[in-house]
Amino acid sequence: MSQIVGPFELAAKAAFYVVAAGTLAGAWAAVSARNLFRAALGLAVALFGVAILYLFLEAEFLAVAQILVYVGAILTLLIFGVMLTARIADPAVPRWNRQAGVTLALTAVLGLGLAHLLARTPWIVRAGSEPVKLPVLGQTLLSTYLLPFELLSVLLLGALVGAIFIARKEKE
């Protein structure tokens, strides 16, 4: 990618800033919207934005997995949860608890401080490194990291059974 020059690079940079701003705006909507359904839509924008950021990092498989799992599955689940529990749009229900002001100030300091630190640190970057090819990623996932992969499938099975057990109707 390093041999690309001129207008394409400029367009890519502009696109990056637009996507990053959209991601953060979506995240802000997700944590601040009074209507929980709108918060879920903001979360969708943020998750989609992160998927596009993965594309900027040349991690195509991860971008597709992000859209499939997060936007496709988790978000649908969250919206189901929002709709099954009433009073989502009631303006009388405060969206934040009483510590919101203090927490907003503290987390703003945390976020901006972290951003400042991370932007100033001279990171060691290997120039001209190639993006990971999909076959290599598959090889790694199913050889070196086979145990966590299998453990994850067991965890998902446990979550499936546990969720059904917790959420089912109890017999009177």
Binding site: M1, A27, V31, Y70, G111, W123, S129, T144, I164
Partner: protein, 103 residues
């Protein structure tokens, strides 16, 4: 990389701070779940950005990110099941109205 590494790190840090803010202040339990998803996403973004900058040849950072996505899915499923169970029993999912254990 066309975009320098710190740009991704700044986006990730701000996403993390927003997620922490939501998780600490949201009254609605589903809102808290959403904020936790934001935090996990920011961590994932960091993993992948550092992996790309370092040029990890076997793609281990992406594998870690994939596993985190899977664990986040499991967490969301169990969390929502708990929220629905609590709603059925108490008719509320406000985190500060659920205080059965408070003496």
């Amino acid at each position: 990389m066309i975009i320098p590494l710190p740009h991704f790190l700044v986006v990730s840090a701000l996403l993390f701070a927003l997620g922490i803010f939501g998780a600490l202040t949201r009254r609605n339990a589903i809102g808290i779940l959403m904020s936790i998803e934001l935090i996990l996403n920011s961590a994932n973004l960091n993993f992948v950005a550092f992996g790309r900058a370092w040029g990890a040849p076997d793609g281990a950072p992406q594998v870690v990110a994939l596993i985190v996505i899977g664990i986040a899915a499991a967490g969301a499923v169990v969390g929502l099941a708990l929220v629905l169970a609590i709603y059925r029993h108490r008719q509320t999912i406000s985190a500060d109205e659920i205080k059965l254990l408070k003496g």
